[in-house]
Subunit: 272 residues, 2 copies
């Protein structure tokens, strides 16, 4: 079993309820990464809504209520509406009766969608993976004690990682190549994780420290082709101690397979 599949594995205990073990290997600092929690939620809803043939997340929104710790967790899925094309539901992830994450999501089947693609977005241009910076070789003190970095192979575009050399570009962009360290190929749930797997985009503004997510919405638009993903995070509106972080995930066939936006709190600590 791959690391990602182990971290998002679920045990059904009936009535839409599942048990899971939050893995210490997916922490950022002391808390478990929000992206892997969203992927876990995504799998639970997928399992639940597969009965109707609606196993793929189309849109999933998570509101983070408290920081998650490694250890046991419970997930509870509630069905809100089932139509012929889609099912909408809600999920609560809790630990020891404390709610960690509340999710609303709409699921369907990517197989039921048309083949028409009229995307005007263009993939980010970045050097090939071998000319990018391995995040694992970056300054650990800046990335924090991040077990998560060992789960993924992340190659950052040097232009968007100049903060690692003390020269943040100020553009508010962090982008790079991403694949799982153990070679697991991407699927729809891993795309959900991918949208929250890069260093905070605030680093490129010279603002370091943790930027806790208040809300994260991911639109998963297609099943990804095998191979490297390109992930781009950007922010345009850093104001009042809050910022949005927009994410794009492109697969190896050059298709825009996921889009995300989160609202995060700006870190208190800063340099420069």
């Amino acid at each position: 079993m791959t690391e990602f599949d182990r971290a998002t594995s679920l045990r059904s205990i009936g009535d839409g309820r599942y048990e899971a073990q939050l893995d210490p290997g997916w922490r950022i600092g002391r808390a478990v990464n929000g992206g892997i929690l969203m992927a876990l939620a995504s799998r639970a809803m997928s399992e639940e809504f597969s009965t109707e043939g609606h196993g793929h997340p189309f849109s999933i929104s998570g509101y983070f209520l408290s920081a998650s710790n490694p250890g046991p967790a419970e997930l509870e899925v509630e069905r809100l509406r089932t139509g012929s094309m889609m099912t909408t539901g809600q999920l609560t992830l809790s630990q020891d009766r404390t709610d960690r994450l509340r999710v609303l999501a709409t699921y369907g089947s990517h197989d039921s969608l048309t083949d028409e693609v009229r995307t005007v977005a263009t993939p980010p241009r970045l050097p090939p993976p071998e000319e990018c910076l391995a995040a694992s070789s970056g300054p650990r003190e800046m990335l924090g004690a991040s077990d998560l970095l060992d789960r993924t192979e992340l190659r950052l575009d040097p232009e968007s990682a100049a903060w690692a050399m003390g020269r943040p570009s100020g553009r508010g962009v962090v982008q790079g190549w991403l694949r799982m360290a153990d070679g697991r190929e991407p699927d729809v749930h891993q795309l959900v994780f991918a949208t929250d797997s890069l260093p905070p985009v605030t680093f490129d503004l010279g603002v370091f420290g943790w930027a806790p997510t208040l809300e994260l919405t991911v639109h998963v638009r297609a099943e990804p082709a095998p191979g490297w993903l390109v992930v781009r995070h950007s922010t345009r509106n850093f104001a009042g101690g809050l910022l949005e972080e927009d994410g794009e995930v492109w697969d190896s066939s050059g298709r825009l397979v996921a889009q995300s936006r989160q609202l995060a709190m700006a870190p208190r600590k800063r340099s420069g």
Copy 2:
């Protein structure tokens, strides 16, 4: 009382529950506009969370479950977490026991935020309102039977409204000036409405007809200054019968006061 305040007025019946009347004057076709429903939800949660001094929506996500009709509606707010800076909660809007809209949201106080603005986004450039196209003078058969158009004064940037003359630009952008027809000045709840108040961005791609919203998330980033708003909608990823619609709302002081994204279904009917 202004039209907007009447359409979003609430009667508390205790325990986080409210009664409202969905006004026929805010319909698009036969259904009540999603933006005004979101604004109604926004006011109910604001009223509920004002007790903690958290009366301003920071992020609000709505999943649409069924089309709303003019007439009585019930709203029920559930508190999920209250911290010192923010309250997160959930809301269900129903009619005759059928759920129409489920909402997750985080509220706080814009007064508690820092004055720091490091926005790199720049306001859309468009001609002054008097050189823009009044949407109310546009082709009604294209906009559909839209009572909503009479509630607002909407002046579309001619470049992003060339579809009205049969020449959609193909850029996937619709933008213009917006204010309420009766002169009501904007507030945080009206910004929520504003993000879903323009003709569908698909018109600029030459795809006409209704584009029902599956999910809409709005980040309200500041209280708006009085005067005209500039609203910009764009899409970059029209694929598989679904599209995202990104919204920006700028106030008269030139501040980016709200950002939104929705996932919508592409209209079935099309021209060209």
